[in-house]
């Protein structure tokens, strides 16, 4: 059942076994895993089924550290959450990233990769994908030979992408499942305005949900799960702990700390006069059946350990020669597909005819083997995704400004250390050495990585992979939630999503968010039975 708080459709109070706040990847996955069970579930979402500017503005906050456009535009505040613009890139978190790494302060999860492994199967299914095969197998199925790289320097890395032309929006894909489930009530346009606890603050009794139009409901439940993303989870908890019995929840001052993102940046440019075709044939997007894969590179765990580095991966982006017949043919084809007449058609057609061999080979490869075109290359760019080291000074706090519901807005102080820059430099160097050794390409490292540049942090783009802030730890002084994602000191408050990651590798986080959500759903099913 889907109800709209603005239309006063829900009873007051709403009674449930479990109240989930936030209908994004984690919240929807937990609710869906509990569909058609004995548990009564209320899924509370701040937005409606479609985006609206007034609700989205509730995410507006203040950046006082590195600039971070993702604070407002990276997150989406309507049913489906940020999956509504998710790129669909999927991979599991590498097992090494679960371990405590002596050279990465505050690293290590209280759970092992094996404890999450069984939940990844469900996570892949939620993304409509089969589990990712090892890179060697993907290459074999593509009929490609792996380059003879030294695996102590770089490794091949493969990703899968959700299928379809639209984002893999959980709001669109799983809406009907939740609507049909007899035990689930979705409450739209309902913002968490207050948490009520017992006198000792050890238990949440109810939450208050308010719409921007002023409608209010109390939701009483046996357990609560906040699944609102790293910045919002921290904001809600910090707001709740300003006074009253919940004050003790943050006695170790950990809530909001260790904010992390992945850093994406151009770290090198490559010339590949001889190896252009080999590079593009391997390090590219590939279709295997209906599933799109991407092959890139990663920094091996042993190289990280040897040099005190973080996890990193890279892809190559190609800048084709715009004068080539292949590029001209592509431009003509794209214009015709859009129903437009190509600009400068005569000269493009001439370039196609003058380069007919290459055009014919590429067309045949595309049509019969579904391979991307091989361009005469101008250059290839090395685009790196880096892990951010957990840093307690990188944090979310509360701003003095308040939103229209009277809640303090978030203040983000995003900070980086030097380990990220060192990792980007060493990884790009390793790629350059290996590609030179194999005669594939010659690499130039971006000057900002090697020269004194105090603003190097601004050279990275945020990826909207917001993580940390309510990290998982067995020690309440080091983390906000325990290994079951339950808030330390509160018997029935759970947190879902990337906010509980204590550290993270270079991998895209959504699949791990889903695996953790399914694990939490299983725990709640048992605990509330």
């Amino acid at each position: 059942m889907i109800l709209d708080l603005r239309a006063e459709e829900a009873p007051d109070p709403v009674e449930a076994d479990l109240c989930i706040v936030g209908a994004g990847a984690a919240g929807i996955s937990i609710a869906r895993a509990l569909a058609d069970t004995q548990l009564q579930v209320c899924l509370v979402e701040s937005g409606g089924l479609e985006p609206d500017a007034e609700t989205q503005d509730l995410y507006r906050g203040e950046c006082v550290g590195l600039p971070n456009a993702g604070m407002e535009t990276g997150r989406l505040r309507f049913f489906g959450g940020t999956t509504n613009h998710w790129g669909g890139r999927c991979t599991k978190l590498g097992s090494a990233s679960f371990l405590s790494r002596p050279w990465v302060a505050h690293s290590g999860w209280p759970i092992t990769a094996d404890e999450l492994e069984s939940h990844y199967a469900g996570a892949w299914a939620l993304c409509g994908l089969p589990p990712l095969a090892p890179c060697e197998e993907v290459l074999k199925r593509l009929g490609l030979e792996a380059p003879a790289i030294r695996h102590d320097r770089i490794d091949l890395k493969v990703w899968e992408f959700t299928t379809g032309n639209a984002p893999w929006s959980f709001g669109r894909l799983y809406r009907d499942d939740l609507r049909r489930a007899g035990n689930i009530r979705v409450l739209l346009n309902a913002n968490l305005a207050a948490l009520e606890t017992n006198a000792s603050g050890t238990r949440v009794e109810a939450v208050t949900a308010t719409s921007l139009s002023g409608a209010t409901r109390r939701i009483r439940a046996r357990a609560f799960a906040l699944c609102c993303g790293a910045i919002e989870n921290a904001r809600l908890l910090l707001a709740a702990t300003r006074s009253g019995p919940a004050r003790g929840w943050n006695r170790h001052d950990v809530v909001g700390r260790f904010y992390m993102e992945h850093l994406r940046g151009l770290t090198g440019v490559m010339l590949a006069p001889e190896g252009a075709a080999t590079l593009q044939r391997i390090f590219n997007f590939h279709d295997l059946g209906a599933i799109q894969h991407q092959i890139g590179l990663s920094l091996p765990a042993e190289a990280q350990a040897a040099e005190g580095l973080l996890a990193a991966s890279a892809v190559l982006e190609y800048s084709g020669d715009p004068r080539s017949g292949v590029a001209a043919g592509q431009s003509i084809w794209r214009a015709l597909k859009r129903g437009e007449w190509p600009d400068d058609f005569g000269s493009k057609l001439f370039r196609v005819l003058a380069d007919l061999d290459d055009v014919a080979v590429n067309t045949s490869e595309r049509l019969f083997r579904r391979r991307r075109p091989i361009y005469p290359l101008h250059a290839a760019q090395v685009v790196v995704d880096l892990e951010q080291a957990p840093n307690p000074e990188s944090r979310v706090t509360l701003s003095d400004e308040h939103d229209p519901l009277g809640m303090p807005r978030a203040q983000l102080r995003w900070m980086l250390g030097d380990q990220e820059r060192r990792t980007a430099l060493a990884f790009t160097r390793n790629i350059g050495i290996e590609f030179a050794r194999l005669g594939l390409a010659r690499c130039r490292i971006e000057p900002w990585l090697t020269e004194e540049d105090s603003a190097w942090g601004t050279r990275f783009d945020p990826t909207f992979h917001q993580m940390g802030t309510t990290r998982m730890s067995d020690d309440p002084a080091q983390g906000v939630v325990d290994r079951d994602c339950r808030m330390h000191g509160v018997e029935n408050l759970f947190l879902g999503g990337a906010s509980v990651f204590p550290a993270f590798g270079h991998e895209n986080p959504t699949l791990t968010i889903l695996a953790l959500a399914l694990r939490l759903a299983q725990h709640l099913k048992t605990a509330l039975a």
């Binding site: 010339l271 001889e274 982006e317 101008h378 030179a436 005669g439």
Partner: protein
């Protein structure tokens, strides 16, 4: 984002064209007279940024000077060895085996004679 990256890449390549030519020639693994300008650019930059290596280059020069075949054989073997060991230098950002940079200096000096 993509456009910004592409423009940045193109601008960088244009800005370091002579070294780029030298780097491309080295990738082909063979001394190419047409790439002498590139070798000279690499040599000049390397000598500026790594003055402490001039003694070692002098020793190689004394050992191999006047015998282009020996020099070419040394360059090929040393390059493979350096890349295997990870003994590389950055010349205006380009990653080169140390021996490649040294070879450029030797090649430039030889051309001056």
């Amino acid at each position: 984002m993509m456009r910004r990256r592409l423009l940045a890449g193109a601008a960088l390549l244009a800005a370091c064209m002579p070294v780029r030519r030298g780097a491309a020639a080295l990738l082909r693994g063979a001394p190419d007279p047409e790439e002498l300008a590139g070798a000279r650019a690499v040599a000049a930059s390397y000598c500026r940024s790594h003055p402490d290596d001039l003694g070692a280059i002098g020793a190689i020069e004394r050992r191999l000077a006047g015998d282009p075949r020996k020099l070419a054989a040394w360059a090929a073997a040393a390059r493979a060895d350096d890349l295997a060991k990870g003994d590389v230098v950055l010349v205006e950002g380009w990653i080169m085996a140390r021996s490649e940079a040294r070879w450029c200096v030797l090649r430039a000096r030889e051309a001056e004679r």
